[in-house]
């Protein structure tokens, strides 16, 4: 029983879990930043998706011309979607990895590289930096997630 308790303690009440909590919160906040950035470009470029959003810009036909796509708005939206596609796997696989009881230093390395790669990816997408900046920063985050998934499957595999 005390063995099981030690196991539980190891699983949750440990530094790896709180490291996961810190980096996951940071990377989710970064993803959330894409929403106000989209709004900023929609307003400055006057490019909206919904008729009700253009009501304050004029009536009837004069407002209709603001229902359009804009390259800058679409760029932020692609960055946001890419965040969702990559941060959702990190959220799930990272939690399971943290509960597998990895070494703190190894776990921190994974979380820090992933977070850094996703921040770089956003700069590479929005500035934009020439390729392969965006491709590489995407690939680094992807590889970190695969590495954590491998650890989880090695420990948890239960088919």
């Amino acid at each position: 029983r005390s063995g099981e308790m030690a196991k539980l303690t190891q699983l949750i009440d440990n530094e790896v879990f709180w490291a996961y909590a810190t980096y996951t919160t940071i990377v989710l906040l970064k993803m959330m930043l894409m929403s106000p950035i989209t709004a900023y470009f929609r307003i400055t470029r006057k490019a909206f998706a919904n008729p009700e959003d253009t009501a304050s810009l004029g009536k009837g036909e004069s407002a209709k011309k603001f229902l359009r796509t804009d390259p800058d708005v679409e760029r932020v939206r692609r960055g946001h979607l890419n965040d969702l596609e990559n941060i959702v796997p990190f959220l799930g696989i990272g939690l399971l990895y943290a509960l597998c009881g990895p070494e703190l230093s190894t776990a921190l390395l994974h979380f820090r590289i992933f977070t850094g790669a996703r921040i770089l990816h956003t700069f590479a997408y929005l500035i934009p930096l020439p390729q392969p900046s965006r491709g590489l920063s995407w690939a680094v985050g992807y590889a970190v997630t695969i590495s954590m998934a491998y650890q989880v499957l090695k420990m948890a595999l239960y088919l």
Copy 2:
């Protein structure tokens, strides 16, 4: 050891966690509702994205005209994507917040306001209500998530 156990008990086996479970399930079910609503508009507006989906509506050229976008379908899809963009951060940050051991009443306030705001957001998007209904309901859910993220970082910060 009994101190650690109390800590574990505080972390998981408590009402805040089950409050999180309840509201997260509700808000995820709400998000899932967007799929049948999209299907409903695709079928009634006869606006499909895939050739194989129009096979029952006719052959060759006569089916091709149903491969088109429709404003009502696109509206539901934008609402669905906005749900993903906002409910994914709530899912992750909310879980970490619940494990930080907040006061039950404070936690319930966060979860209830977020869930209410996202339900209002869906009505504001689909009816649609005049702005700033949709903008405000989005902002309220966003602010609740930021507030929980602040609590998590204050407690967990481990860089």
Copy 3:
């Protein structure tokens, strides 16, 4: 106190949780596969979304013609978005369901059917198979998630 501990043990240190970990990791890896598949079609079809991605294909106007949408690329992207829309609810509701202490055999049935349905859905979308293959595989995964949500709400309901 030992009752609480047994409860905690039941909650986390059990086979259901590791079954969840295994299938969630598999289904998230499957979703991640959509990114390289998108890249493969973008490169072979020469259809890109960002000007900086076409720089290696030529200069000025000759590169601009590769900034276009392609039906095969859009098909993979729709499959990827459908994964996000369905795997995010599974991630959240599945975790809460696993912590509700269901029977191992019942839980495995849920996780296996969901994972199988999402793999079938990807094949049905990408080959593509005639309908209702894709519709049915979507519906099976959806129903499994609803069934788990019902179990969570029955056990956790805390409004």
